[in-house]
């Protein structure tokens, strides 16, 4: 049985339909990504799961309990870390974590706070007021809050926003370590596609309040079937013969002696193309094959091309 079951969730704001019957299952221990352009419904989904927004219709079951009638008990077993939120600025990091630790009923709280501060490498910030921290430091405090109660379900909304690449990498490692140690189920949203691909086992791709596809990153990237092959030759090439090859949707000149091929079915077209080019008598000096990235899929979804 899935840890999180969302069925036919609908939410409308005036004339805008933010969620149009969204259904989703997330299994226990999964690191699950929610992807989609702005306005796709990611934040609305997360906010409904937190009880901050009430859906118009649909049902949510978390830990095999109906969320609507058990939301207080369920929220004790989950948590959230969202980059754009804050805690009390005039309180120190330690004080803020003490407040939330008590609200979540955390036992041996001081020891727990010490452990998390150390894991996210911000022990030295414990006595600093939150309002005096940089955005990267603030983000790591938010993550500490998210893990305070050892949540069974953790919602991470853009939680690595504002981190420099080094700290972002360390944070991803820490997230993976904690998730694997505790088998925490994580629902993760980010606009950093590499991060989503690296962390998430499965991804739900949302667009206009609907799920386009739930799959692994590798499978989602196949939503864009074509590959791009860029070939540089020693001399200029005659395109007439190449154009006769089947399945090449586009050929473009890419500089004086280079060509760019867009293959619709690379599995079957790459080999014939390369054979043809190597036999053409014009030596190849460089070749580059680009596979579609998650970002390519994202851009196509955002532009309504998928």
């Amino acid at each position: 049985m899935a840890l999180l079951e969302i069925r036919n969730l609908r939410k409308r704001y005036g004339t805008v339909e933010a969620l149009q019957g969204l259904s989703l299952d997330v299994e226990r221990g999964e690191f699950f990504g929610l992807l989609g352009p702005n306005g796709a419904g990611k934040s609305t989904t997360i906010n409904i799961l937190l009880g901050l927004i009430i859906a118009d219709s649909g049902s949510i079951r978390i830990f095999d309990h109906d969320f609507a009638s058990n939301h207080v008990a369920i929220r004790r077993r989950m948590n959230v870390a969202a980059a754009f939120t804050s805690m009390n600025g005039v309180l120190t990091v330690w004080e803020n974590l003490m407040v939330y630790g008590r609200i979540y009923g955390v036992k041996q709280l001081p020891r727990k706070i010490d452990e998390l501060l150390e894991r996210f490498e911000i022990t030295d910030l414990a006595k600093r007021r939150l309002q005096h921290l940089s955005s990267g430091q603030h983000t790591r405090v938010t993550l500490c809050k998210g893990f305070l109660n050892d949540p069974e379900l953790l919602l991470l909304d853009e939680c690595t926003l504002g981190l420099d690449p080094d700290i972002a990498e360390k944070t991803r490692r820490a997230l993976q370590a904690v998730q694997q140690e505790r088998k925490t189920t994580i629902l993760f949203t980010s606009h950093n596609m590499n991060e989503v691909e690296e962390l998430c086992g499965r991804i739900a791709f949302l667009s206009q309040g609907e799920i386009l596809r739930v799959d692994t990153a590798a499978h989602i990237k196949r939503l864009i079937p074509h590959q791009v092959v860029e070939v540089a030759f020693q001399a200029g090439s005659d395109l007439t013969l190449i154009r006769q090859l089947p399945g090449i949707s586009r050929i473009e000149r890419n500089g004086e002696h280079a060509l760019r091929f867009v293959l619709d079915d690379p599995t079957h077209q790459l080999d014939p193309l390369l054979r043809h080019l190597t036999q053409s008598g014009n030596p190849i000096v460089d070749i580059h094959v680009s596979r579609p990235t998650l970002e390519d899929v994202f851009i196509k979804v955002a532009r309504g091309e998928l």
């Binding site: 009880g51 901050l52 927004i53 004080e95 003490m98 939330y100 630790g101």
Partner: protein, 274 residues
């Protein structure tokens, strides 16, 4: 999710303690929160103290000092209780903490229990400070009316202050920070109708009609009666206590409704972005 849900009325003492700890930290870390325990009450005491000294020196109105100073000290309790609810709720809006707070398992009962506890401590501090100041400056001791009377008057005013504070908090959740001024200004609207410094029957008939519905009016009428006769008028006081208790329950219900509406309209997350 329904508007009335039994789990919203449960509470955890650890969560209440967590929130009390937060409000305590906010009080000692913020000069504003320390300052407002004494600043306005002292201004009010000085103003009415000197006014009553002047009236006493130019007329034969017996007990003017007691009437005015008693009113000023007790009014400060209502004002403190009412503004504390609004201010402590607003602190979470100002610091963009609404998202994290309401995503946590905290219930409205826990929130108001914590605000009530910290508010009670602040009210007691403010009351004791004013009592000593009134005694030192004007030789007026409000405790002369007796411990029972003080307990009765203060409990009605505290509860009524919380009622108004909770209603303002509900409106802030429904309409956002653009109406935050209500947290400080509503007390000034209620004051003229509460007969703090003058008797009910001295006011025009239509104003009396409004005044009689306010629990605070019966407290200040009772205070003047106690000062004049040394006795406590129990009947109107018990009625006003009952009325305040009913209003308190209604204010909690209205807060729950406003919170439900804010969640239906997706306002809680928009406050965070603001």
């Amino acid at each position: 999710m329904r508007f009335v849900n039994s789990q919203d009325y449960g509470f955890s003492t650890m969560a209440i303690w967590g929130l009390v700890y937060k409000f305590t930290c906010l009080c000692y870390r913020s000069l504003d929160r320390i300052f407002d325990i004494v600043y306005w009450p002292v201004i009010s005491l000085l103003l009415w103290g000197f006014t009553s000294m002047f009236i006493a020196s130019t007329s034969s109105f017996a007990g003017v000092m007691e009437f005015f100073l008693g009113g000023a000290v007790l009014w400060s309790l209502f004002w403190r209780a009412q503004t504390d609810v609004g201010t402590f709720i607003l602190e979470d809006f100002w610091s963009r903490n609404v998202y994290n707070l309401f995503a946590s398992p905290v219930t409205s009962i826990e929130l108001f229990a914590a605000i009530g506890l910290i508010g009670l401590i602040r009210c007691i501090l403010s009351f004791l400070f004013l009592t000593f100041l009134a005694w030192g400056l004007y030789a007026f001791n409000i405790m002369d009316i007796g411990g029972t009377a003080i307990a009765a008057f203060t409990s009605v005013l505290l509860l009524f202050g919380w009622v108004i504070g909770i209603l303002i908090a509900a409106l802030i959740f429904r309409y956002g920070l653009r109406i935050q001024i209500l947290a400080w200004s509503v007390g000034f609207i209620i004051q003229p109708f509460s007969c703090v410094f003058y008797p009910l029957d001295s006011m025009p008939g239509w104003v009396q009609g409004i005044a009689i519905t306010l629990p605070s009016t019966h407290v200040f009428e009772g205070l003047r009666y106690a000062i004049a006769t040394g006795e406590l008028a129990w009947q109107p006081l018990l009625l006003s206590f009952g009325l305040t208790a009913v209003l308190f329950i209604l204010s909690i219900a209205y807060f729950q409704y406003a919170l439900y509406q804010a969640k239906k309209l997706g306002l809680l997350t928009r406050f965070e972005m603001a």
